[in-house]
Amino acid sequence: MTVPQTTFGSPEALMRDADLAQLHETWSRPRGLWGWLVTTNHKDIAERYIVTAFIFFILAGILAVIMRIQLAVPENHFVGPDLYNQIFTVHGTTMMFLFAVPIMEAFALYLVPLMVGTRNVAFPRLNAFGYFTYLAGGLQLWGALLANTGPDTGWFAYVPLSGPAFAPGKRVDVWADMVTTTEISALVGAVEIIVTVFKQRAVGMSLNRIPVYVWAMVVTSFMIIFAMPAVMTASGFLPMDRMPHVNTHFFNPAEGGDALLYQHVFWFFGHPEVYIIFIPATGFVSTIITTFSRRPIFGYIPIILSLIATGFIGFGLWVHHMFATPVPNLGQSFFTAASMMIAIPAGVQIFCWIATLWGGKPVLKMPLVWVLGFIALFVLGGLTGIMLASIPIDLQVHDTYFVVAHFHYVLIGGAVFPLFGAVYYWFPKMTGRMMSEKLGLWHFWLFFIGFNMTFFPMHLLGLHGMTRRIYTYLPETGWGMLNHIASSGALFMGLGVLVFLYNALVSMRRGEVAGENPWGAATLEWTTTSPPPKYNYALLPTVRGRYPLWENFAQTPLVSGLSTDKREVLSTSILDAQPEHRYEIGTDSILPLLMGIVTGIFFVVLVFTPWIVPICAGGWFVVMAIWFWIGTGQPQEKHKAHEYHEPRSPGEPGLSLGSDANPSPQT
């Protein structure tokens, strides 16, 4: 077989051909459709997630264009009120649950194992299950919309509007079950990321050497773990209230229930959700700025501390979505203070980025262009955020287009811009080819101008009193011109996305060949070939600093000794990343798909009857039992008595990186 050559000492060349061939064989998936269904490789799964999430992004974007066409002129009859309700609900729900969170986790599931220098995520089958569950949730929502059963009570589905009294039919049940389904997949992804980072880092990658992006994903994953159970509680209580034969009274005031509790529980998830989307984006930004400034990032430690601070403060803000409800004044003041406080860690990060650019020699390639766009737009979104944190202003513009403008600036400016930057940045790693810079600039300017045309006028519309979620308005309101500008902008944005799709599809086949490190970046994923082999690294890399490729990587030790005949990864200690033990992970299997199918059926049928619970519980048990019984199919090792294997001391030969292993980079 041909050995891919890399300029970083070509680890493959250090292995015997027979070992390399066996390694390749062990990590390859079966051929054909079967292989496609059973694969558990993190790159296969992540690519699927990314493609699926972008498809949902485009579908939800089409809904947005339909809304903008409807609102372009007063008293338009392009779509009726009922369909309009479904469209804005499915647009918001798709963007939040099927695009923003999954795509951020998808990038992490692709990049984190590569960046920490391991071969796969910690629980590969669970990872595959997460994808199938996510897909089932997405199909459920969009299938329902096509059947005219799309949810129509807004992406947060407040009771009592979404309760049994005011929303008969199955629309809200579809929404709630779809939320639960996709949250399962988000939680699964979060557990994968944390355990992979905690236990599978390259030897020598102590906590203070973890790439900023990986830190960002750890913080995000912890936020997912503590935030998502809240929305699952909400999306569990709501269908229980609505379901025939169950009819609980959680949100029914007549029987002591409380509609406001729904808002508390929803926003206890919903606000951290904003940071679950935004923190990965800051990870992209830090990575891209470091690479294109050609220098270590300014303030590594303050940036990490800011990420963690954001993770904590993000849980203390949820009531600022509820300022228009009868929450006690003292409580509201507390949440105003917290909402303003969170500007501090965001500000620290922005100043660190500016300082990095200032002190470096910025190379203006497409990823950096998107990041510069991000900084401009996110500052604007942040400013309106501080305005909305103030109760008097919030009460004035509550539920108007001012809020719509604010959160689109924060979410598109704050997350989608860095995301596009990340696509341009890592596309060469994923496909082996560069994206066109020229088309990239067209994409950027169409999207940037279109974005500002669409959403800037919405600030003014909100101040003029145009409320959210109305399907049309009268000519006398005077909102026509601004709406018309906004709608034209949407077309520019749509064109920009089309250019992007064209660029991606063409570059995938005919782009310039990238080589393993086209940007001269510093993190580990750029040491392996593009696209990476199934096993990521033939010999595992080690690191001696935060920027391994800028610190004489060719002299850094490599790790050998993992089995080549079964899928083994190296487990290292949490703090110092010292080698601890080898660990066999799951092989390719059809069981995750079966499990996903059972879960998908469960949540579709649950819309109609609770009796699916015991039936699917049986299904889950059967699949899990098979899953457990087959295991990885390898013979089990038995020892007389299990010894405690203390990690060997760093001084012992063979496991040490040497005393010169701490050239801690100055920032």
Partner: protein, 215 residues
């Protein structure tokens, strides 16, 4: 796998002599389990907070049961079955600890005894739980008090069932195939889950069964 180290100046760290599994917090599966328990703990906390949130809407908690004669003015949940459950679950910790410790010594007989006895107790608790719902006096669809208490008990019942399935599968594996390194570790991870389920029941016992009497 041998490495032709002569071909390179790069240092090669050979890890082939490291153990192939770990029995404690060094194991990834231990962390996976711990994080899933974090998720479930958040869930129980939110549902428990909801319980007290609903309580603020009532002058009397639990509300009087007026659809029967004689009217129950203070229908606090009955303690008998819940207390038996509490005793059984606390007692089940002992065999689980025995199994947990025996895994370190690979003492198969003790692991069988511990995991088997814990499984029996678990099944007993599940059986009692189905009758225990009647101790709540209200049904889930009578009022929000019924809804939230049934939900708390139901969530715990769900965990009991998953826990017993897990322990049961391990038990069958050991009976059929004997104890090996990986399954010894898995039993230790199941034990962590077991302790957590018991701890949650202590919390729910205090919240659902004691707090309406004493708070």
């Amino acid at each position: 796998m041998t490495t032709p180290a002569a071909e390179t100046s790069r240092t090669i760290i050979d890890i082939s002599k490291l153990p192939s599994s770990s029995m404690d917090t060094r194991s990834p599966i231990w962390w996976g389990n711990a994080l899933l328990l974090c998720i479930e703990t958040s869930m129980f906390m939110i549902v428990t907070v909801s319980y007290f949130y609903f309580r603020r809407n009532f002058a009397q908690w639990p509300p009087p049961k007026i659809d029967q004669l004689p009217v129950l003015y203070h229908p606090v949940p009955k303690l008998v079955l819940a207390t038996i459950d509490l005793a059984l679950l606390l007692g089940s910790v002992i065999p689980m600890v025995i199994a947990d410790r025996a895994c370190l010594k690979m003492d198969e007989a003790k692991v069988r005894f511990g995991a088997g006895l814990a499984l029996l107790i678990g099944i007993a608790v599940i059986t009692i739980r189905f009758f225990e719902f009647n101790s709540l006096i209200f049904r889930w669809n009578d009022n929000v008090y019924g809804s939230i208490t049934w939900t708390l008990l139901g969530l715990h019942l769900m965990h009991m069932m998953i826990l017993c399935s897990e322990d049961g599968l391990m038990f069958v594996w050991i009976m059929v195939k004997g104890l090996d390194d990986k399954h010894a570790r898995d039993i230790r991870v199941t034990a962590v889950y077991w302790y957590w389920v018991v701890a949650i029941w202590v919390l729910l016992y205090v919240v659902v069964f004691l707090s309406p009497r004493f708070l």
